[in-house]
């Protein structure tokens, strides 16, 4: 499968809420193929999340200037109106956020939240069909007792479980692209690995492209075939993961790779 799902050309994002405009993303170009997992790495404030928000169409448009092009399956979505995007967007793009504590609505039951995008995009479905699909979806993210979880509120779940629920609700319409904005940062290491494996499995089974944003290089190395290194709103380096890890070209990439804590070093301590 060689066809292109997402192409970004010369993306610029500038904030205008202060006297001096602030550029957070600067001339970003990238391509994502169907079924591919692309990692975006970089330190905090390097523009990773802003890029993700731009792809998802979630940037508030008042005090910022956005330039460039984002093509999703040949449709330009960056400058399209909200009503135009809405039809296909939620259906084709799903998102998982960093903080599992705030990514679920505290006053709604899990099942209701998982079903929400079905209610919007598959209005012809009956209640029973929606329920069946929601349970399936909860099962596919390896939650035990999906029927019980369905009826629970978010505060009754642990962080890792909530993140699974998030993945379930993002994946329920089987989107072509899943944006994972630091999905593992707030979780502990064992859960991190489970979530990464889960994403890997979903990618294989449903052929969903994943845009995996993280500052954790060791996770990115395990999950992604290709990576994109960002620094100060610019792409520093892009290419095959293996290539970049073994022969980093740029000084910044070397620095990042050098910053991965190694077990051998720890042993010496």
């Amino acid at each position: 499968m060689e066809d292109l799902l997402l192409e970004i050309k010369d993306l610029n994002i500038e904030f205008h809420d202060h006297d001096v405009p602030e550029r957070v993303v600067n001339g970003l170009n990238m391509k994502l193929k169907r079924g591919e997992i692309l990692g975006i790495v970089g330190e905090s404030g390097s523009g990773k999340s802003m890029t993700a928000m731009a792809i998802a169409g979630l940037l508030r448009r008042h005090d910022m200037k956005i330039g460039g092009e984002i093509n999703f399956e040949g449709t330009e979505i960056l400058h399209a109106s909200r009503t135009e995007i809405r039809g296909f967007q939620g259906d084709d793009i799903g998102i998982i956020f960093q903080e599992p504590m705030t990514s679920l609505n505290p006053v709604k039951r899990i099942g209701w939240q998982v079903e929400e995008s079905l209610r919007i995009h598959r209005p012809e479905m009956s209640k029973a069909q929606r329920y069946a699909l929601a349970i399936d979806s909860l099962k596919s993210v390896e939650l035990e007792e999906p029927e019980k979880t369905y009826k629970k509120y978010p505060h009754e779940l642990s962080g890792g479980m909530r993140q699974r629920v998030m993945i379930a609700s993002a994946m329920i319409c089987e989107p072509k692209l899943l944006i994972a904005d630091e999905p593992t940062t707030a979780l502990d290491v064992t859960i991190q690995l489970q979530i990464v494996k889960l994403l890997q499995r979903l990618n294989r089974e449903k052929n969903t492209s994943i845009l995996f944003i993280s500052h954790d290089l060791s996770l990115v190395k395990q999950l992604c075939a290709k990576i994109l290194v960002m620094h100060d709103g610019r792409v520093v380096e892009a290419g095959d993961t293996l290539e970049i890890f073994t022969h980093p070209k740029e000084a910044y990439t070397k620095e990042l790779i050098g910053a991965i804590p190694k077990v051998e070093k720890m042993k010496q301590l």
């Binding site: 008042h62 939620g90 990514s103 929400e116 995008s117």
Partner: protein
Amino acid sequence: MKKWKSYPVNFRIGAVITGIMLLLIVVGFFYTPYNPTGMDNSAKLAAPSLRHIMGCDNFGRDIFSRVLKGMGNTFLIALATVAIGVVCGIIVGAFTGYYGGWLDEILMRVNDVVFAFPSILLALVFVSIFGTGKYNVVLALGIAFVPSFARIVRGEFIKYRDMDYVKSARLAGVSSLRIIFVHILPNTMTVLLSSIMIGFNNAVLAEAGMSYLGIGVQPPDASLGSMLSEAQTYLFSAPNYAVFPGLMIILMVLGFSLLADGIKER
């Protein structure tokens, strides 16, 4: 259901007082010991006794019966006032808070202008233009109550509009109206509930004030405020005439305040 004992003390006391008040109000709608507007010449300004437990007023009307009816009137007016304030406040606050931008600027400046007038003054102006009567009072007080609710709701919406679950709902293609009323509004309920209670108290007091000034409930219909106003002349000869309606106002307000405090503490 949580155990009764696990609620804060003020919540429990408030609930008991409010419960008794509501019971009296409901009873008052269906049954009063005497006709609240029926006059009895032989019982003018009668002191409290077993026949008239709160005594009688200057026309020989049973004060207890009038208090029951008056509480009902006061309660309904306060309820309607708060309802107008809350519904309009939610609509204004939700849209300004969620969208921001120029809509926010315009509506909030209008809001500030209304907010700048004391509610009683605003209601007085309104009533002097449209005439006296309880419906005009409800409308006038209701409008005066909108700004404070709008501000509270707006603040909450600003807090929630950039939450991740709102973002993911937006991404899922949920319409703005559905996000506002189905996804965000239920989250504001705890804050809204206690401010509704406080608003209700203010409405009870405002209604009593308006009726005291003679522009609310019109005689011979009773309201706690109008009874206080009538009792003023007889304050020394028949203190019970003023004390009982006043006591009822205090209890209603106290009950709701304690309840509101308790809800906030939980």
